[in-house]
Symmetry: C2
DNA sequence: CGCGATTTTGAGAGCCGTCAAGATACGTGG
DNA sequence: CCACGTATCTTGACGGCTCTCAAAATCGCG
């Protein structure tokens, strides 16, 4: 167990957005707050943090005094084996909670790193229990988010455990595309896509080389275009069928 | 989406244990309740359910009117691909919550099946929100349990994504042994172990045949004995080193 | 323009999957 | 108590998916 995992050179605080004007709220897929909830979150929020791409947000085995909500950008959650093998569990995107583990247990057993430049809302971990005593509806939202994480992890585990390489790539590309689109992150038909092939390989439980060759195969089917950090899905139905995607309907999600 | 997934022939209700005398409470690893918490849980609990080995508890894509806590026995949580490939996500053991997803979303996207005979405490899903408004400390416990699930899923994903066959078998055997021992389920040095090799294969993302051959290799190292549904770990340190186990310290856990 | 990060390609090895069949254990009915 | 069917476990052979090693091409950046 290492000590506190915060304070990295690449972090700066910045102008603080009032929660009432939270940019996430305009995105349609998030639920509305009552004024009481809004006031609580405003009180709970300690500021904002801007993190550079590649910077660690929390490190494996450490604890953090803070809990975050992603306002902008992409991050990823991962674990490593002693010899360096890395597995990426999931990606953190706008609206996602970061650091729940540290609010519930002592330490985080996974690391989180910024994949692109990110902006985070900062909440103090030691006030987290107040959320349960003072705003039950928000506490329920935390459970919602947590159960949603579990759902994504289940899907990811099925992917890594039972899909072959081509299915895995197709599934994860679709998954990320789908989440990003729902969050309104598209630029026309294209998506700014910050993953390298190494990230994808570590997500899929494949080697870098085989991932590269499999992407080539997927490109050859003509259902995606992915060049220079931009992703375009040109045949979504085909992509879904290759990835054996089983879509469950979504409802408006909460966030804090 | 199929309809309600309850009511199987193999279920019977039975004598109802008062929560104050809950057998889990004596097991040391669970936290104590205040009398208020106890009274709430007593009110929340609708009865008990006994389920035969092999019986489905909830099915993929259905919703359930109930939420359960495992009192006795083993179950497993799984997902399947359209062509029948199955991935087991995790095992449900005493103290674990079953069906949280259905209390938060509409449907469960995974199935749960009894691995041995099980006894479950039954709670009504529609009263679940009351837990948040009336007993914040129990709501926090739900978050604890949920975050704990996520922690186990992370570990499982690392296993399936980045460990080789021998490491996978060693890891999962240790994981289950460890949980069972903490729950006081040992009979001397031996553990009643209800998994078949097919279950293990579906947990590890391996084929049945290769799982069998890998178990043989693990047995040859002399650190486990596993015959006729009984498991014995004869060299735990060795098992952990083979499985590259990274143990995180545990604290008293909550349950409902 | 030069260097590091990333992507791409080829070759060969090996881990793991599939197919097939036999052995063992277990429950059921005669 | 024995016969028999089913579930589970075991073993062998073979193919292929994926890994490792190696090196070249391309991109991004100072």
């Amino acid at each position: 167990m290492r000590a506190e995992g915060s304070a990295s050179a690449s972090r700066k605080s910045r102008y603080r957005t009032p929660c009432a004007a939270c940019p996430l709220r305009s995105r349609g897929m998030f639920r509305d707050f009552t004024s009481e909830e809004l006031a609580f979150v405003e009180w709970f929020k300690r500021g904002e943090l801007s993190v550079e791409a590649g910077a660690p947000i929390v490190q494996e085995g450490t604890s953090s005094a803070h809990l975050y909500t992603v306002l902008e950008g992409w991050g990823f959650r991962y674990k490593t084996l002693p010899d360096g093998r890395r597995q990426i569990m999931n990606f953190a995107m706008p609206g996602d909670l970061i650091g729940l583990q540290t609010s519930v247990f002592e330490t985080m057993d996974h690391g989180i790193e910024a994949l692109s430049q990110m902006v985070l809302c900062v909440f103090p971990r030691d006030q987290f229990p107040a959320l349960y005593t003072r705003q039950p509806s928000l506490a329920f939202d935390v459970t919602w988010l947590s159960a949603n994480q579990e759902r994504m992890l289940d899907a990811q585990l099925l992917t890594v455990g039972r899909r072959n390489a081509l299915e895995r790539v197709a599934y994860v590309v679709w998954h990320l595309f789908h989440r990003a689109r729902d969050l309104g992150m598209m630029h026309g038909n294209r998506l700014a896509f910050p993953l390298t092939q190494q990230h994808l390989a570590d997500t899929l439980g494949l080697s870098l080389v085989h991932t590269n060759k499999t992407i080539k195969r997927l490109r050859a089917t003509g259902c995606i275009r992915w060049t220079e950090r931009w992703l375009e899905v040109t045949d979504e139905a085909h992509l879904k069928s290759i990835g054996k995607v089983d879509e469950t309907p979504q409802r408006p999600r909460p966030f804090i």
